[in-house]
Every structure is written in structure tokens, then in C-alpha cells.
């Protein structure tokens, strides 16, 4: 079955679209596959289902959809998660197995914090990026996997793509600054 087909993507409906597109708290990481049960199966327009679109969890979405429309059948669920706090960090020093970073709260903006982290908390693929000046996102939250809830701390380093165009733009700007600003 083609799970990438929008027809089967249960979250791509008018009442769930806002949730997975705009609501960062719910990562759209599960899908419900709809199965055609009879030859004369007629799709029920989700808009006619009177469901509050601002449901708090994907779990509620699934159960309500299944309860209201027997044509929907859960064939599989994966992990989904909810962030409760997020920061952007810049490493200010590295000391052996730990690094210290300036942390900007992305939820409660204003003052910044200083935090210390262990190298071991960073995924293997990102460890090479641990150096002074590097930027990362750090989020705390919960994850649900097969009904089990766990606390989660995720550090993701920023990987910036740098093209020849970026380099040329920088060089052009430098040239322009050199030619246009006089210095006494």
C-alpha cells in the first residue's frame, strides 16, 4: 500500500491539518491507514464529523476518528512526541567530556542561561560538531511509544549548508564595503 499517498494520510484532513502543519508540539509521526471495506464504500467527508480540531494529542485524534467512522482502521502506530521546553544553544567552551553553552529559551524569551552538557548526551553523528561556536537545539519533552511514556532530552546540532553562492555573496559584500566606506 502506498503510504505516501495523501489519500491514506489521515492527518491530511481539514480538522487535523492545522495540527501537524503548524503545531510543533505534536510531531506527525503516526499514520492511520484507511481500508476499503466494501465495494460500495463511500468516503465520509471528514468535515462532516463534528470533532474539535484542537485535540491535545494524536491519540485522541485516532480514537475519535475510529469511533466516528468505521471505514478508518488503525493498521499501525509509531512513536510520537511532545516537547515541553526548547532552547537554542551556542557552545562557549569545551572541556574534555563536557561542554558549556549559552542557552536562549525559545519558549520564554528574554534572559539567557548557561548550561553544562556531557558529550555522551550528543548522538554519535553529531559529536564531531562539538566545538566552540557551534550551534544546537535542545528540547525536553515526553515521548509515547506503544503506550509507554518516557521523558526525553534531545540535542540536535545545526548543520548549515554552505554553497559557492554563499561564499561569492560574502566576497562581493566585502569588496563593496572596501570600496564604499572610507576610514580615517
Amino acid at each position: 500500500m502506498n503510504t505516501k499517498n495523501n489519500f491514506n494520510w489521515a492527518l491530511d484532513t481539514p480538522f487535523t491539518q492545522d495540527m501537524h502543519e503548524n503545531d510543533e508540539d505534536i510531531k506527525a509521526s503516526f499514520f492511520v491507514l484507511r481500508q476499503k471495506l466494501t465495494e460500495n464504500y463511500k468516503d465520509e467527508d471528514p468535515q462532516e464529523i463534528n470533532i474539535d480540531a484542537r485535540l491535545k494529542s494524536a491519540d485522541e485524534v485516532v480514537s475519535k476518528m475510529v469511533n466516528h467512522n468505521p471505514n478508518y482502521q488503525i493498521l499501525g502506530t509509531r512513536l510520537y512526541s511532545k516537547n515541553v521546553q526548547k532552547w537554542k544553544g551556542h557552545i562557549i567552551s569545551v572541556d574534555g567530556d563536557t561542554f558549556t553553552a549559552k542557552l536562549y529559551d525559545l519558549v520564554q524569551k528574554g534572559t539567557y542561561e548557561i548550561g553544562e552538557f556531557e558529550r555522551a548526551e550528543v548522538s554519535q553523528e553529531d559529536r564531531d560538531l562539538i566545538e566552540e561556536g557551534a550551534a544546537f537545539y535542545w528540547s525536553l519533552g515526553y515521548s509515547w511509544r506503544e503506550g509507554q511514556v518516557t521523558k526525553e532530552s534531545v540535542i540536535r546540532f545545526q548543520r548549515v549548508l554552505w554553497s559557492q553562492e554563499d561564499y561569492d555573496e560574502a566576497e562581493d559584500r566585502a569588496e563593496n564595503l572596501y570600496n564604499s566606506i572610507s576610514w580615517e
Binding site: 562557549i92 534572559t111 542561561e113 548557561i114 532530552s153 548549515v160 559584500r173 566585502a174 563593496n176
Partner: protein
């Protein structure tokens, strides 16, 4: 708050508690002002030197004559591009490498990187200043040791001169710029100049023939006599008298202290000010406060050095942070203003200091501070 008279000098130090920049605004007589560095309110992002000057009725468009960026350090120039934008009549001055082309290449490369990661860093602020100067087709002033940055000979004569960085410091900066460009590294990683304090611009303000002010920026003492404070003490050509006002350098640290500064550059019992540093390490240390108080009964600080605590948040989130064993320390915002004024027409006049918000006079409570 009121505006100084035309014949009154004013040196106002604005601190933010040690994490959001610091700034000095100085009245150089005849309604003219200069602004040194910048700081912001982290919530409103408003540059505090502009807030102060507008609050006392200064016309930013015409009365601000000089804006100086003392060094390229994240926590000293926050909001400086907004300051420059709002003061179109001011000349912008900063220390830069002698090889201008290479220097501009470095800052542009770093700026290009930062545009992708969106951060509020010194490089961003500095590059925005360059963009403003470009748009205005303005002339900027490089700050070098013994260079006159501003002078007025009519009315109340005033001279503003840079005492640093030294030629040796600039020469080393040139080499550093080459290294930084070569080791450009990952585009995700910010360019980190080494020792920005070594290129700090120390300022001397001469009011007429008698009054001198030294603003110490973040310059430190170096063993090399061609660098730091030793270079100023032994080789400066513009110092022609002792200063009655001193902004203590580098947040009152031991690295910014030298006995000779106090005996050779400053009058007896000068009026002095300090801005604290409140990140991982905390400055000034109590022992240094004791030392400064032994030199002068007039030591003022913009806010106290405090133990950092976690940020106040929703109880559930705070609990989660604690349970996961993370120790976060908030860098608190604490505004403090030390305003000092001096009557320039009275040769016996002393600096009159007024304190606002978190600023306080250190000497009377030194004992209490040492015990903390």
C-alpha cells in the same frame, strides 16, 4: 533625570548585571555627547544608552557626535547597530586590522554564516553597523593608540583620544585574521576571534586643560611591554596629566589591575566605576574590590555580583530539568546607572555622583561584600 548644563561634564555608566552589554555615555560639553559600546534590555531589546539620552531630552540626530565600539565582544555591543542607526550625525569608531580588505572579508564571511543560523552576536551587530555606514557612504574612524577621535577647540575645549590598541596588538590581529579565514571551518560554527580584550580601545577624554577621564574598556595587563596597559603607561604620547575619573577595566578583574595605573595615571582619590561580569566566572572578586577601595573612597558599581540561580519557569518544566540532572544558571538582567557630573568652570569642583536602579557605592559596605 535631568540634562547636564553645557559647562558640566558627565560620565554615565550603564550596566545590565553582566550579561547584556555595558555602555558609557559622556557629555563632552556644549550639548555634545559620545556613546561608548552598547547594552540592551533583553526583554524589550531596547538599547539602554538611547533610552537614557532620550529620557533627558538629548536630540540623538544632532547631539551625538561619536560612537565608539571598544572591542568585538558579544556582551559589550548589544544594540550598537540601533544606536548608530538613530544617531546619523555621529562618527563611528572602532579598532580594526591594518589589512582592511582581509578584515572585511573575514567579517563578511562570518556574517554570511550567521545569516543562516540567526543569532544575536557581536558579528551581527558589527556587520549591521557596516551596512549602515555603507548606506550612508559615511567615513569611519579606526581607533589606534594615541589617535585623536574627536576634538573641539571652541567653547569648552575637549579632546577624545584612543590610548589603545597598540601597534603590536593590531599587528597580531592582522595575523589572527589570516588564520581565521584559513581555518574557516564548518559553516555551522561561529568564527571566534582570540583575545578580543587585547584590542580593546581605552579612551582618554580631556576637558580643557585640567580635567581628565580614562575609560578602561576591557584592556588587560600583559607581560609584553608593547601590549595592554604597560604600553599605555610607557609609550603613550597623549597623556599629559592625571585623571580624576576612571572606569576600571575588565570588570575589576586582577588581569586589568596594575599598581602603576593608580600611581601614574590617576589623581589621588579618583572617582571610579565598575561594571560586573556575572556569567560562569564572576567579577569583580571581593579581594579586588578591597584593593580598589584602598585606592579610593569613591568606588561605585552598577550592580552586585550574585550567585546565579535557575530561571523561573512553569513548575512541571523546572521539575523535569531538575530530575534530568541539568544545572542551568540564568544570567539575570539588572540595570544599574552611575551618573557622575563635574562643573568644568570651577577648578576645585569634585565629581558629583548619583546612583540609579541597582548601582551602589562599594566603600561603605565593603565588609559585608567580602563576607558574602
Amino acid at each position: 533625570m535631568d540634562c547636564p548644563r553645557y559647562d558640566e561634564a558627565e560620565i554615565t555608566i550603564i550596566g545590565t548585571g553582566g550579561g547584556y552589554g555595558e555602555s558609557v555615555v559622556a557629555h563632552i560639553g556644549d550639548g555634545e555627547w559620545l556613546i561608548v559600546d552598547s547594552c540592551i534590555n533583553p526583554v524589550t531589546k531596547a538599547p539602554l544608552p538611547l533610552e537614557y539620552l532620550e529620557g533627558i531630552g538629548v536630540d540623538l540626530k544632532t547631539q551625538v557626535k561619536l560612537i565608539i565600539c571598544t572591542h568585538w565582544h558579544d556582551d559589550h555591543i548589544q544594540g550598537i547597530s540601533t544606536v548608530l542607526e538613530n544617531c546619523p550625525g555621529a562618527v563611528f569608531s572602532m579598532a580594526r586590522a591594518h589589512d582592511l580588505k582581509k578584515f572585511l572579508r573575514l567579517v563578511s564571511l562570518d556574517y554570511q554564516k550567521l545569516k543562516k543560523v540567526s543569532t544575536n552576536s557581536a558579528t551581527n551587530e558589527f556587520n549591521r553597523c557596516l551596512d549602515i555606514l555603507l548606506k550612508r557612504k559615511a567615513t569611519a574612524k579606526a581607533s589606534d593608540c594615541d589617535k585623536i577621535l574627536y576634538q573641539r577647540t571652541v567653547g569648552i575645549p575637549v579632546t577624545v583620544a584612543a590610548l589603545s590598541p597598540s601597534d603590536e596588538a593590531i599587528h597580531r590581529f592582522d595575523a589572527e585574521v589570516s588564520k581565521l579565514i584559513t581555518g574557516f571551518g564548518s559553516p555551522s560554527k561561529r568564527i571566534q576571534p582570540l583575545s578580543p580584550n587585547a584590542k580593546s580601545v581605552v579612551l582618554l577624554i580631556k576637558y580643557g586643560n585640567s580635567q581628565r577621564v580614562i575609560l578602561g574598556a576591557d584592556l588587560e595587563v600583559d607581560n609584553n611591554p608593547n601590549l595592554g596597559w604597560l604600553h599605555i603607561l610607557d609609550q603613550s604620547q597623549v597623556i599629559d596629566g592625571k585623571a580624576s575619573y576612571f572606569k576600571i577595566p575588565h570588570h575589576g578583574s586582577l588581569n586589568g589591575y596594575h599598581q602603576r595605573i593608580w600611581s601614574e595615571l590617576l589623581e589621588e582619590d579618583p572617582t571610579t566605576s565598575i561594571t560586573p561580569w556575572n556569567r560562569n566566572n564572576k567579577l569583580p572578586e571581593p579581594s579586588m574590590l578591597e584593593k580598589y577601595c584602598s585606592h579610593s573612597p569613591y568606588v561605585f558599581i552598577t550592580s552586585a555580583v550574585k550567585t546565579s540561580k535557575p530561571k523561573e519557569r512553569d513548575r512541571m518544566i523546572s521539575k523535569m530539568i531538575k530530575r534530568m540532572n541539568y544545572k542551568l544558571k540564568e544570567v539575570k538582567y539588572e540595570k544599574g546607572i552611575i551618573r557622575s557630573r563635574l562643573n568644568l568652570t570651577n577648578s576645585n569642583a569634585k565629581w558629583e555622583v548619583k546612583l540609579f536602579d541597582s548601582a551602589f557605592h562599594v566603600n561603605p559596605i565593603l565588609g559585608k561584600l567580602i563576607l558574602q
